[in-house]
Amino acid sequence: MREDWLRNDRLPHIYCAGCGNGTIMNCVLEAVDKAGYERDNTVFLSGIGCSSRAPGYIETDSLHTTHGRALAFATGVKMAKPSLNVVVFTGDGDIAAIGGNHFIHACRRNIDLTVVCMNNHIYGMTGGQGSPTTPIGKTSTTTPYGAVEVPFDLVDLAVAAGANYVARWTSYHVTQLTEAVLNGLNTPGFSLIEVRCQCPTSYGRRNKFREPKDYMDFLRSHAVLKEKWERTAKPGEELPAESFLVGEFVRRARPVMGVADET
């Protein structure tokens, strides 16, 4: 049962009302439970930010580390003791900005980790500053006239850097997300599951998604299934504005590190 994995004495958690991170935590715990992991041989790691508070609510060994470094810590844990199952919660600021180097190198090494990136397009905990994934034109406290930088595509980055399993879903697609995390856990090597999620307090408030439901509607209407798009798109056709592909992007068997020997 998913409830068994929670530290009930610490709930309710610090997330704002309608925050997508809680949903993602549910889906990951559901997947971890389905994968048959034990609480005593699973470790959750995280960096800094809203997303990174999640391991503190899970009743396992957990490391809540420094900003952006979660993947480097996870490398140490997994390489030193490959029998542990290691899951990393991270945010877009963590993985795309300050921890970008650790991210591409963890993908390159293809260490057996499952990384769930809660991408809310903003630095939520510090009050809504723009992040490397803030879409062009969106408002934040550090992009008051609209973001002008081109955002990172984390999925493309992970595929190019060599991860074994890469998928993208949203906090609206809970069953597909659970399935993707489960696939990530079962795939040896580096798995990245990017989850687009809502931040009604910092992102929504400034970008006309004041209610959590509004952003859920946006996620539902702008998420384009990758397989469907590949089937139906005319040659050269581009995705409609603000839309993004969801689905499984890569599943392959490149050489991996940190897998426990069967012997």
Partner: protein, 364 residues
């Protein structure tokens, strides 16, 4: 054997089974030697990380799985590690960091010796904390002190630093390799005791990941359970005071030093490479009325040691920086303290030290 290799051998003898590093002159030989030796050990791992930040992070992660973890670096990499050194202090992670010091600031002199990181190692990360720093002055001590560093790290649950320098790291000397070195592992976390409750002189017991204790480790101010509690001033104060006092209170107990000519009027206080020049002046040339205090553990600073020199007229402190430990000594004594800071990468000459004795009023 070379100092850096001796350091790696000392770590291996102490049971080091995880090394994460990033190449940097003049510490590279340690990583190279570990890369050759560790993969042949069962359950051991060598990994070359993408930078020093990641190296430090990886050894903390490995230490929490119960590994004896180590990294080696030099000044510029040491600066990068500061962030996660603070994390290791706050989360009370035992680990060993070797810093083969070179001339700074910035890239400075990659192939020349210095002792310019002696204050950075003590105060480099933000916030109040205390650490243990050892200084070898010979190849034999590189071996012995590295092995000892692992024991101190486990005993006090803190990062421990081996502050070597380029001269010691690249020096070649004959050493005696003991058949066995003493190994002290961390006190186990007793059943039913919370993971951050101090059990012995402010040090909590240690349980590694995967042993069923389900420890939440965080760099935030936390309570005994490990849960973040950041807005309670009393909690923060008691936690940080404990982190500092568990090391500072033990400073005389763990002090490791050598005293020669205790009754002399002019006492050299030295650590690291300058010890060799001091030994030349005092032990071989036998300059009258001189003696020395050689510190193997510099931080926490054992200030009571200075009181044993009852005849002292001046302390002379040769260092390969512009006066770092000399200031620490000045805080504790009434007699004059004469710093002899030498930077540029070369050792002090005996003549320079003798001149300092003259300056202090000696008739050497």
């Amino acid at each position: 054997m070379q100092g850096n290799i001796a350091s790696a051998e000392g770590a291996l003898a102490a049971g080091c089974n995880f090394f994460a590093g990033y190449p940097i002159t003049p510490s590279t030989e340690i990583a190279e030697h570990m890369a050759a030796r560790l993969p042949k050990r069962k359950g051991a791992c060598f990994i070359q990380m993408e930078d020093e930040i990641a190296s430090m992070a990886a050894i903390i992660g490995a230490a929490w799985t119960g590994a004896r973890a180590m990294t080696a670096t030099s000044g510029p990499g040491f600066s990068l590690m500061m962030e996660n050194i603070g994390y290791a202090v706050m989360s009370e992670t035992p680990c060993v960091i070797v810093n083969v010091q070179r001339g700074g600031p910035s890239t400075g002199q990659p192939t020349m010796a210095a002792q310019g990181d002696m204050m950075q190692v003590r105060f480099g990360s933000h916030g109040d904390y205390s650490i243990i720093a050892l200084c070898p002055s010979s190849v034999q001590e590189c071996f012995d002190l590295t092995a000892k560093a692992f024991n101190l790290a486990d005993q006090f649950r803190t990062p421990v630093f081996l502050m070597a320098d380029e001269v010691i790291g690249h020096m070649r000397e004959r050493i005696d390799l003991p058949d066995e070195v003493m190994v002290i592992r961390p006190r186990p976390l007793p059943e039913g005791v919370l993971p951050f409750t101090p059990v012995d002189n402010g040090v909590p017991g240690f349980a590694s990941f995967g042993t069923g204790r389900r420890i939440p480790v965080t760099g935030l101010t936390h309570n005994e359970q490990g849960y973040p509690d950041t807005t309670n001033p009393a909690r923060h104060e008691s936690l940080v005071r404990r982190l500092v006092s568990k090391i500072e209170d033990a400073r005389h107990e763990i002090a490791d030093f050598q005293v020669v000519n205790e009754d002399a009027a002019f006492i050299f206080v030295c650590y690291g490479a300058p010890v060799r020049t001091v030994q030349e002046v005092v032990d071989r040339r036998r300059v009258p009325d001189t003696g020395y205090l050689k510190l193997r553990i510099v931080w926490p600073f054992p200030e009571k040691l200075l009181q044993r020199f009852t005849n002292v007229r001046a302390f002379i402190v040769p260092e390969m920086n512009l006066g770092m430990i000399s200031r620490e000594i000045e805080r504790h004594v009434q007699v004059p303290v004469i710093p002899i800071g030498k930077i540029g990468g070369e050792l002090h000459t005996p003549e320079e030290l003798i001149e300092a004795v003259h300056f202090a009023g000696g008739d050497a």
